[in-house]
Symmetry: C2
Subunit: 533 residues, 2 copies
């Protein structure tokens, strides 16, 4: 353990090498446990701040995209090192701004640095560039065949909108930033206003790495803003070429509209909302109904329910064990002690979402967690129960961001198909089944893979492994770009675009496409994939 | 050479197994050489026809997407065989409807069948499914690592809008259709109204293959319509999950808006407009100015200028050889005899586009081709000349679809950067350079790869090789989806979406993800690519 450095937060925007003390709307973070406002004061970036940060990013692009794979990989690793060096300074600030327990913060820090190092490995390995070489055939009749080679180029500067619920892993140096930098795209982060101090700490860490590697100052920028103005200015700036966003459906849709209305539209990779349906089949219920009920609520409570993959909707096929499941889930919710939500705004939205369901006379409140009057932004866990018929009639699938979930009891398993067809696009869909359920599970899985980015079996959707096979994405409204992922090594693809080179001489070709393969990367030669292992 | 079968065109929509004689607006194809209307009469599909064809496609999806790689490959090969079996029946109808010379029709037929067979090979090879397996680690602390596997699934039924200018290769069984079927997605083609008979012939060929392979009847459908109604109904049908379009910017933008306004938006892969800038540098001009001038016009005249990659804008860096280039290009245009355009509508649009430039007093008409009064829809080749300063002032880069091009003479090579920055997104960008030009070519190529999907060196953009390294795409407005291609093996990616499977038991996993790799396809195992060669 290194000694935590003393970093004085100054409340500025990080624009190139400059600390810019903006003068727009002032705001501070709130300690969600005590409700206390935290120092320092941050200010919304001005139009000229935004112009400056995007100008620098555009200027940096020409140089940064030409860095070698090795240079970019080393840069990503330095960011990870710089974040680790923040030690308890970072942990304490994250805790103060979000109320997240220290153990989870340490886990999220490791995930964030691991993600940066994974992208370093991805960049070096090189197959992300999709290098392809099709040989010329000058003698082909009736027309000679040209020499064609293909690789990926970065799209240009990327605006990343940080999420509230992962102040490290989906924030300033989170997945979107790591993927874009790996692709060779400069990044401007719009900090989340709920954790500006954490953002400044991590932003300074990234800037240190930019300096260490002698990269152009515009390779990374960090700007603040409590409302929508900064985001909207970024989204419409012609030098921004792609957007990464994790947040509400409303926020995502606003960015999508703004990006589509530009003279030159750009892609928005928005992760928005998901209720992550879970299906518990009869064999699994009969075998372990009670155990599953408790595990369900444990998953719902992870991160005080503020995870994109929280199970908000669970379908039980009635039969032996179903009552045990509901009883066990009910007991677990009743035993859940209130915990602080990430911010006052999220606590208010959670209370509203809970009221909306409570007001529905066809939905029963099965259980309610215990209160804690000392908390400024408490979330009281909630469990609701309804029937399949009611679910189909009421379309009960709006996300309630926080520790709440709805159990839908299915009396007639013949309704399963209609239920699946009524569901919106999801990040995840889960099936719990015993071997005796496989005949029912098979067509269900066939449906669910068309509905979600990740299908789980006998597990719980919370916990998103960062790896090569992960997909954190899914059909609308879960995301705006279902063909992509925001977690895992394929996230780099969102910030790339393929280019073909026809008859370009060796000395003018990008290194990865030279005939002798100087980088030693996997390439497709005349249609055949050549790995290097 | 097989004997051409007798196929009687009946003017119907092909909806599943049924020939549906629609009763909407009647229209006929026109012989663009003679102006004669051709039999039979076609009719616009009704709302209920469209409902039926999309219902069948949706029903077919469940079965078709589960076909094995081998089955889908054999199906694609049968389509190619069926098209070849049409022999001169097809060639004659294409010629009658489009005026394209027989040699080019035979070439385009070979390209179309070759494309179908390439996708058969792609499907069998299997790396398009991006199979990835990350092994579980139950002992990992603090949390066990799950088993994660990933593959691609097809998005669902695809609507393909056929292009006018490639009645085979970008039409009923063209690249979009081949790529979507390869992906496991049913296809509904909206025929181009300029070649409905060709569409019916090829549509019947595809249907024969559907029957031969016992596939669901909704795997393929073909509907007609002379206006926008059919397209708009298709684009907004909830069962259509992606759109492939090749045509005008106006048409593409209308589809993009319609698709974005759906309750669940879908991707539109629209190829719209491109002027395919060519840069001729001083060394190349000095070395072979005259030869290049003639080759430029030869490329402009391919397909009577009606190719998406036709060079509509050429930049000359003034110096020795520049006058020879212009003289040679001028002579070649003057010697160009009028040829029929594909349709009366395109001939009218071409005349309008030419007038627009002719009316610009800062642009000189350098040459005009010779007329042919016997033609109903003639295109008279046109060559214009202007200066770099005027190009920058007037933004002269609207596509004129047909045999016309603008030479921009650059007196001051220092303007090159500003010119490139003023250009819109393109399908192609070309540089002609001698070794003495490489220092100038290098930064130019760096710019151009950010502007275009394909960069050519010492060649001409017409002629799009169908292969593994081709990209036929590019930044907006060339296309609406710059990260994809509509030609070449990567076109399959547009109709796929990745899904991750977490802890799914072997017997419930998709075949391509089973541990023993029964299909023998390339896969990424714990991050390392394993090819099978």
């Amino acid at each position: 353990m290194t000694t935590a450095p003393t970093v004085t937060l100054t409340g500025v925007n990080l624009i190139g090498n400059d600390d810019v003390a903006a003068t727009g709307t002032a705001f501070r973070a709130t300690d969600p446990a005590s409700g206390a406002a935290l120092e320092p004061v941050y200010h919304q970036a001005s139009a000229s701040d935004i112009d400056r940060v995007t100008t620098l990013a555009w200027e940096a692009f020409a140089t940064f995209r030409q860095t070698t794979f090795a240079q970019r990989a080393a840069f990503l690793e330095s960011i990870a090192d710089e974040i680790e060096a923040l030690g308890s300074t970072l942990t304490e600030r994250v805790h103060a701004e979000t109320g997240i327990p220290t153990a989870r913060i340490l886990g999220e820090t490791a995930r964030t640095t691991g993600q940066l190092r994974m992208f370093a490995d991805v960049v070096r390995e090189g197959s992300w560039t999709h290098a392809r070489l099709d040989a010329a055939d000058p003698d082909r009749a009736p027309l000679p065949k040209p020499d064609l080679r293909q690789r990926e180029v970065p799209v240009g500067p990327v605006a990343v909108f940080a999420a509230s619920n992962f102040p490290l892993a989906f924030s300033v140096a989170g997945g979107d930033t790591a993927a874009a930098l790996a692709a060779g795209a400069p990044v401007i982060v719009k900090a989340h206003p709920a954790h500006p101090g954490t953002s400044e700490l991590v932003g300074r860490a990234v800037r240190n790495a930019v300096r260490t590697h002698g990269l152009p100052e515009g390779t990374f920028g960090l700007i603040h803003g409590p409302g929508h103005e900064v985001g909207s200015a970024l989204a419409t700036d012609p030098r921004i070429r792609a957007i990464g966003f994790t947040g509400s459906r409303q926020g995502g849709l606003a960015l999508i509209s703004a990006a589509a209305a530009r003279p030159v539209p750009i892609p928005v990779y928005a992760e928005m909302s998901s209720v992550n349906p879970v299906f518990v089949l009869p064999g699994a219920l009969a075998e372990r109904g009670s155990e599953l009920g408790a595990a369900y609520i444990a998953s719902m409570n992870v991160g005080v329910g503020q995870l994109c993959t929280s199970p908000g909707l669970l379908f039980l096929v009635d039969g032996p064990g179903a009552d045990d499941f509901v009883q066990s889930a009910t007991d677990a919710v009743s035993a859940t002690v209130a915990a602080p939500m990430l911010s006052p705004a999220l606590a208010a939205a959670f209370a509203q979402g809970v009221s909306r369901v409570t007001d529905n006379t066809h939905v029963a409140v099965a259980a309610r967690g215990t209160e804690d009057s000392r908390l400024a932004c408490p979330a009281i866990a909630q469990l609701f129960v309804t029937t399949a018929e009611q679910f189909l009639a009421d379309h009960l699938q709006d996300e309630i961001f926080g520790p709440a979930s709805v159990i839908v009891r299915i009396g007639d398993a013949g309704l399963l198909t209609r239920i699946v067809e009524a569901l919106e696009g999801q990040l995840t869909a889960t099936v719990h089944a015993a071997p005796s359920d496989y005949e029912m599970a098979r067509p269900l899985l066939d449906h669910l893979e068309l509905l979600a980015g990740r299908v789980l079996f006998n597990g719980w959707p919370t916990g998103v492994e960062v790896g090569h096979a992960m997909i954190h994405g899914g059909p609308f409204p879960a995301t705006s770009a279902p063909a992509t992922t925001s977690v895992g090594s394929r996230a780099i693809e969102r910030f790339l675009r393929p280019v073909a080179y026809q008859n370009v001489p060796e000395e003018l070709l990008p290194t990865e496409l030279r005939t002798d393969n100087p980088l030693g990367i996997p390439r497709r030669i005349d249609g055949t994939l050549r790995s290097t292992d």
